[in-house]
């Protein structure tokens, strides 16, 4: 792919960075989540996905991006980028950490700010075979509750039919690292990986609603599974 937007995240990742990401997420963070935080991973049965994937999840804590990176297969971890807000992570150490430790791509939340359409930037990345991690709520929101999805995921999935959208529900991570705090206190949690959704010719709103419904139904399923009758 040579005609794509020369975004910084599209530079080929070095072998060293790949090894670093695997050690950081598949070993270090996986152990933190499994042993210290005590997060339970529950996987829907599905075949291993090849090629680009769009992961979407609800968002309540800075730990969410780390948790999702532990779910991405090792073979594609260097090709998977969390999508983060330029205005929040735009400068200093935060920016450096997001680009190099989280392997994130920073976009502006509004089109006016940069004059560049963030969706087009992400489009180019999917075309180049990269996977994306999106938090369609757009912000961490109210602890423990889920806001409405923004239409970005609908735009991306409708422009790239055939790229599967994997819905992920994160339960309880907001207790471990709430908004506005910077110390992790372990409180457990659950990460549910749902069945991939594949769209062919659905509209933007239809896809957005379907993905939101998928995450909401996973949340409800988890809640009902352990409810006393």
């Amino acid at each position: 792919m040579s005609n794509v937007n020369p975004s910084s995240a599209l530079k080929p990742n070095s072998f060293v960075k790949r090894i670093m990401l695997v050690l950081l997420y598949k070993v270090f963070w996986r152990m933190i989540f499994g042993l210290v935080i005590g997060m339970k991973y529950i996987w829907a049965d599905h075949v291993a996905l090849k090629g680009p994937v769009i992961y979407i999840a609800n968002h309540n804590s800075h730990l969410d991006a780390m948790a999702l990176m532990t779910v991405v297969p090792s073979s594609r971890i260097h090709l998977t980028h969390s999508v983060a807000a330029q205005d929040f992570f735009g400068s200093g150490f935060k920016r450096w950490g997001m680009l190099h430790l989280v392997n994130a791509v920073l976009i502006s939340r509004s089109r006016k700010a940069s004059g560049e359409d963030p969706i087009e930037q992400l489009d180019a990345m999917l075309l180049a075979g990269r996977s994306l991690i999106l938090f369609p709520e757009g912000t961490r929101g109210v602890p423990g509750s889920m806001g409405d999805f923004k239409r970005g995921v609908g735009h991306l999935a409708s422009r790239h039919p055939g790229i599967p959208v994997v819905p992920i529900y994160l339960d309880g991570l907001y207790r471990n690292l709430p908004k506005g705090r910077n110390m992790i206190v372990p409180f457990g949690g659950t990460l549910l990986v749902g069945k991939p959704l594949v769209f062919s010719h659905e509209g933007v709103d239809e896809i957005t609603n379907a993905t939101q419904a998928a995450v909401e139904s996973m949340a409800l399923e988890l809640k009902n599974a352990n409810r006393l009758t």
Binding site: P178, R181, F187
Partner: protein, 318 residues
């Protein structure tokens, strides 16, 4: 008794019980597999999942017991930590009390270190005396008094129930030398774990087969008088049969077995009450077929301290 194999300096008594445990696991795995093939049912599948989890739990426990006491202490400390971590979100603590929760977690390594270095007097007083004052005081220093009675009651309770109780399993390693007793602390630990584990299984089995009259219908509808009495009696018999792991005589073993079975039942009932109040079926989802850590360890955390004191009493009296 003769040693079967010579590895890690394991003594003969412990080896025999490990072989009994493996035998029971092989038997039940085979039985539930056949049951599932001949007459597939929800119960058969549940039993298969449960037995599979028992395999993993037994493997972890046996390995951590026989390799080195340090590993045993670390493993037990992890279980206490996992219990706290699992229960705090359920107990709906004020999220602004995170620092105090962190202090409660920090109590766990201290308590197990006291056990490991044999500081028995401080060990016995650390949580119920010192932390009982320190934790409420730290809560007060936040300057926020609304709902503080709840936190003052909950946090020390959680430490006593799930750290202090469990840590008595580690204190078994500090039992004074008893002449003529060769099974050692590993033997005592294995004895208690085997009894409480089998007590749960036997109460479940008696209840499923002949159980009719509920003991605590509003707390835990599945517990029946038949299950309780059958379980306690069979655990008592088991305690007599396995007393080669302990320095106990036949009547002492029977009494210890009886107390362990009743304490196990009590721990189970208390946990059921807590879970019912917070509105969940299981305390978590860490162990497939069993639920969370508390669902499996409720009996152990209640029976560990009584067991330790009974053994100590009987071995120092004789």
């Amino acid at each position: 008794m003769t040693k079967l194999i010579d590895v890690w300096g394991m003594n003969a008594e412990v080896q025999w019980v490990i072989f009994i445990i493996l035998g029971i696991l092989v038997f039940s795995s085979t039985a539930w597999y056949i049951l599932g093939k001949v007459r597939p049912s929800k119960l058969a599948t549940e039993l298969q999942v449960r037995t599979k989890s028992w395999w993993i739990m037994c493997a972890c426990f046996i390995l951590s017991t026989v390799v080195h006491p340090v590993i045993t202490h670390l493993g037990l400390a992890f279980l206490s930590y996992a219990l706290l971590r699992e229960m705090y979100p359920l107990l709906k603590l004020d999220l602004r009390e995170r620092n105090v929760v962190l202090l409660c977690y920090a109590v766990v390594p201290v308590q197990y270190a006291l056990a490991y270095y044999g500081k028995t007097e401080i060990f016995l007083a650390f949580i119920p005396v010192f932390m009982f004052v320190i934790i409420p005081f730290v809560l007060v220093t936040r300057g926020e008094t609304q709902g503080i009675v709840r936190s003052i009651s909950l946090l020390p309770y959680s430490l006593v129930a799930w750290v202090y109780g469990m840590s008595h399993l580690a204190l078994l390693f500090q039992m004074p030398e008893i002449p003529g007793f060769t099974a050692g602390p590993e033997g005592l630990l294995l004895y208690l774990i085997f009894l409480v584990g089998m007590n749960d299984v036997l109460q479940f089995a008696w209840g499923k087969t002949i159980g009719k009259h509920p003991v605590l219908p509003r707390v835990s509808p599945n517990k029946t008088w038949e299950g309780l009495i059958g379980g306690v009696l069979s655990t008592t018999l088991l305690a007599i049969g396995l007393r080669f792991l302990t320095p106990l005589g036949i009547w002492e073993a029977a009494f210890t077995g009886f107390c362990v079975a009743v304490a196990g039942f009590m721990g189970d009932a208390i946990a059921s009450g807590i879970k019912r109040d917070v509105g969940v079926k299981n305390s978590g989802n860490a162990i497939p077929g069993h639920g969370g850590y508390l669902d499996r360890l409720d009996g152990f955390s209640a029976a560990a301290a009584p067991f330790f004191h009974l053994i100590y009493f009987f071995s120092s009296a004789s």
